[in-house]
Structures are given as C-alpha cells and as structure tokens.
Symmetry: C2
Subunit: 392 residues, 2 copies
Amino acid sequence: MIEGELREDLHIKWDRMRSEMRAMGIEACLLSVDVNLYYATGRVYNGYFYLSIEDEPWFFIKRPNGYSGERVVYIRKPEELPERFAERHIRMPRSLLLEADELSYTEYMRLFSIFRPEKAENATRFSRKLRQVKTPLEIKRFRISARKHEATYREIPACFRPGMTDIELQIEIERRMRKNGSIGLFRAFGANMDIYMGSLLAGANAEEPSPFDFALGGGGLDASCPLGANGTVLKDGTAVMVDMAGNYTAYMTDMTRVFSVGRLPDEAYRAHQVALAIQAEIANAARPGSACSELYDIAARIAEREGLSDNFMGTKQQAKFVGHGIGIQINELPVLTPRSKEVLEPNMVFALEPKFVIPGVGAVGIENSFLVTDTGVEKLTVFEEEIIPLDK
Amino acid sequence: MIEGELREDLHIKWDRMRSEMRAMGIEACLLSVDVNLYYATGRVYNGYFYLSIEDEPWFFIKRPNGYSGERVVYIRKPEELPERFAERHIRMPRSLLLEADELSYTEYMRLFSIFRPEKAENATRFSRKLRQVKTPLEIKRFRISARKHEATYREIPACFRPGMTDIELQIEIERRMRKNGSIGLFRAFGANMDIYMGSLLAGANAEEPSPFDFALGGGGLDASCPLGANGTVLKDGTAVMVDMAGNYTAYMTDMTRVFSVGRLPDEAYRAHQVALAIQAEIANAARPGSACSELYDIAARIAEREGLSDNFMGTKQQAKFVGHGIGIQINELPVLTPRSKEVLEPNMVFALEPKFVIPGVGAVGIENSFLVTDTGVEKLTVFEEEIIPLDK
C-alpha cells in the first residue's frame, strides 16, 4: 500500500523502531492512535499497525474499505487478531508495547486481554522518543510548512482594519491560512490541550491564565474553550501576538510574531529586544549534546538580568518552559524546561519561544522553529523579527 | 465560583448525578476530562471535579490560577488528594466512578492507585448516559446555536463563485461561521474522530470511504486527515453537501443541506425527496418511548422500498446509523442504529441525517437537530430543505 519516497521514509522508521525495541528487550509494538499510525504508515486509518523485531509490519484495518497489499488484513474487531496471527504464522509476542498514555483505560485493557503479554511497556513513550528525531522526509515537510507559514504571516498587515477586535483579525488570518493550505487540524499530545488554529493575544488578555499547557493563555470567547482571543479591541498602544498554527503539512512549524497598533510603551520594545537576545543566545549555544535544561537556564538568566523575570512566559501564571519539540503534534519532545534531562540530537526539531507579557499592553517576544544540525541549529521559519506595525 | 442561571443548571445536574450514583450503588465520581468538567462545572479547567452522594461538589484545580470559593482547592498533582480530603473531612470513597473510556490507561491507573477503591466503575458511561437528557439551559444553548447555524447556511450561496473547488467554498463558509460566532473547536467522543469544522462533499468525493465514524467520508486534502473536501472542482451537475459544525455554543447543533451547481441528474432530486420522506416519517414516529432501532428501521425500509439501499449512507462504505445524540460532543447518545437498545426520553436532542450518495454526482439528503418533547419531537434547525441552487 506504500510507494516511493514514503516507502523509503517508512523503512527508516521501522528500522529505528525495531532497534529501539531490541534495546528495550521488547518483541513487538501495536499502534492504533492517529498520530502514531500516521508516523508508522504515512496515513490515518481505523485499525492497528503491528511490528515485531523479527518481521516486516502488518496492517490490520477496520476502516476505510479499499486498501490492498499482501500485509494488509481487514478485521472487524481486535478480538480477531489472535486468529489472524495464527493463520499467517505470526507469533504472538511475549512482550508488547501498547500506547499507555494515549489509549483509554478501556481500550488498553481490551488489547492487553487479547494479547496477554508477559510484559507490557509503554508504546507512547517509545513512539514519542523515536518521533523526536526526524527523518529526511519529515524535515522536507517542515520546510514546506515553514514557507507557507511565512507566507501567511506576510499577509497579516493586509488583514488589519482599524477598530477591529482580536477575534476579527484572527478570523481573517485563519482564512489566509486555509487558502495557503492549512489542513485545519491542530494536533496536541495529552488531555486538556484544546486549541483551535492557534492563539492571538492582544492587550490585557495576554495576562489571562488558561487551563492549558501552552506558553501563554488568554480568556477565550466561551467558557467551554478558555484560551486565546477574547474580543479585545485593537486600539492604539496594543501589542498583538500572533501564534497561529503552521499546520500546512502534518509536520507543523511553530512561529510567533508581534504586531503593533499605534506606538507601544518603550518597555514593550525593550522586552521584545530581550526576547530576541534570548533567542540569539540559545540558538548560538544549541547543538547536539546541549542539555535542554541548560538552554532554558540561558533564557531565565537573561530575563532575570534584565529585570523581566516577573514578565517572562506570563505574569499571573508563568509557563515553565521556553521551547518544545514539534512534529505531528505541537508538543513533542524534547522540552526546554528547568528539570529536563533531555539532550539535543541531530535532526530534532524544536520551537523556541521566549516571550514577555507587558500588563495592559500585550505580549512581546518571538518564536521560531529550529532544526538541530550536526554542528548547531538551523532556523526553519525565517521572517521579520522586529515588532511589525499593523497600521502603516 | 458559580452564579445565576448556571448555578441552577449545575444543581440540576449534580442532583441527577447523585441519583444515578445511588441507583448504581456507587459513592462518588471523579471527573477530569474537558467535556465532563464543562458539563459538571460550566467551565474547563485542569483538575478534578469530585462529587459524592452525600455532599456538595469539590473543585480541585491545578490550572488556571485565580479561582476562589470555599469548595475550590488548589493542588499541584492528584497524589495530594488524600491529604486534601483528610484536611477537609471528606471521606475517601469505597466505590468510585473514573472516566475509563476517556482517561488514558496511565492516568486511570494513577488515579486508581491514589484512591484504591474497592469498586471502580465507568464514569464515561455514567456521564454519557446523564448527558443525553438535556437541561433547560442546555436546550437554550442549542437554540442559540441553531439560529446562528441557520444564519450561516443562509449565507452559503453568497460564498459561491463559478469555477471554485470544494475546499475554496468550505473556506468561505468557515469564515462566515467564525464571524457568526463559531467557537471553532469541534468536539467528538472517542479516538480516530479527527475532523475540522465539518464536512463539505461534492461529486465523486462523496463516495470515498474514510477511517472515521461519521455518516459520510471524503478523501480529504492530506493523508494525515483523510476526510471531507479533496479539491473537487464544483462544475455543472455537482451536488454539494454541506455538513458544517453548529459549534456556536458548547452545545452543537448538527445540520446538513445540499446545494447544486447547474442541473443535477433526476435521480439526485428523487433520492433527495426520499431522504425528506424518511425524515418526515421518523419525525412523525419519534416520541418518548420510541426505540432508536425502530426509528433506524423506518429509514432502512423506505430506502429499500425506493430501491436506494445501495446508496443509503454511502456506497463503497455505508454508515450503520441514521441519527445520533448531540451535545458538547457531536456523537453523544442515543444512536439511531439497527442494534440500539436505547429508547427516546423527553429532552434528549439528536441529529437525524438520512443521506444518499449518487456516484459521480455527490451526496443528497438532509440533516436536522431534534429535541424530544413530551409528546413528539421539535425540529431545532429550521431552514430550506430542498436542494438549493448555488448559481442562480
């Protein structure tokens, strides 16, 4: 069912998966969550991907109809798997990886009782670990997303009309995103990560805490989704932080720019320069072997030195990270956080987002997506980094 | 933390929850999934809602900062709960409902090992059962969604330009939705229910099977989200089925209308009339006490009688339901499916969607949201039901 460039990409991934399973002393993995299926098969289906250390993968599919291939097996329910395994002389694994952090308890127990492995380990941790180091095809897709992400941001000043609210501006940006090829879905890992197309924060709303684990909050428009734009009028002296999704391929870039309406207070421009300095210093330090905790510390130290600790990554509620891995989900590994034990490796891709909230004005700062190269990092999202006036 | 109309609404829900727990012989429930928190507290936060049969609820909150109230308790992690319980003389429950179909295996086991109940039952099933019968405030919100949903559909012909593709039309509709107050998020229950703002299907794409459990499929624009519009040009003779979300409040209406470009083949108009007849017959039969399976059978019988069974709810892949409960999620209970054991009750709200796929032309049919009254059903979404020409 798979051809060409994608086939090559999947073989790289399957080889890595088998190596990792061998290192873990595990015989096989069974994946069924959308993002893991997309990673392992290049598509999303309703069913299972099964890979053992000793064999090529099997694709067990419930829906959609119409796939073919010698290793494609249609099933109605997972309880059929042992019989399908037996017919094809696939050995039932004694140790198995199941997506413990993604499958519901009910679904996990169902699969566990079908396979009854002597040992079960966490396929979510396995897959998130592997997914953080990107393949050439994945990096190519990030580059496509980056170009379209930049193109959309270039159109933002044309979306602005005096007297607009934050959400009115966001709606126009969403339309440009879609016209530039945004696939719409914004995938995040974990519960309570509700978001729609990204975040646009202006004025006092930038201080509002949100329940979610994003860098900044915002009150949102409805109690059922308390995040982002809240109807703030974009009046003179307002900073508008645009952090809209880079979901132009399944591999999302992450990029934030700040726009201004009228002249902002001097402290906003100054804090913005501090954010740019943090970005420059971290980008300069980051390379294979860099400890993510130390990269965070660079940011915290500069914020402190500049007297901006109380504004760093929020005010009323402060996020305890300055960057995060990106990929099929917006919050992949590694995380640039004080207690991280992670270390950068070549072909990791992460977003770096030093931001400051200026009460009553809005948020300033920067976010770009970076690829870890053999010797340092490459900025994937290239676009004007100063505060951009909307009303010129 | 809660006032006025919402307070009254929540008291109705808490009373129902306690009654249901008493009937189940369960002492308490612990909820933490976004939709259940919204149902039980009127907002989404990162934390837990705890309700026992003998007491008022407790709100244990991790984020956001800033809530207050005598029953609001801030925690950093769930492991603190036993201590917080002890300090407040809350008895640890011997039997407990946990969200088994929604929490990840890891999170479920974590909570289970903190509470160590002698008996744990499924809070997902509990909550989905309760949530299917709506409160007055919930119904009021459906009515708000319905008015805005209708307003958006009224604007659809103005979105059309000759030569457009399906996705170009969808983008313009999305913009109108957002301007009319769509909150963006489209919540669905269960894994593998990826969708963005709804579905627009035109021409041959209406036949394409999708992995997801929606009424119809469509190939989509990217392998990472194989559903809906796929870039089909809206040329003469094409039926355009618009099934975009009614997410104008947290309570989503569901509504489908068919639009035409040029003159469609006669069989499309005929099948559309059959769908309208199915809707009329089911709406006429439906009342408290109606078996959902029998309502499905009405649809299947008419489709069969009219020689349209092979086109009913798809061709290459056919959905086995003709309606479904709606609410905070688009796929609530009950489900109008052949093997359903569910029976309609007053204040249930469901979408009824008899649809036929005409190969090469598109999909025709209808979908509306219905409220079960004491004696029958009331159509909540009122708008032109014939096929609407886009190019007049």
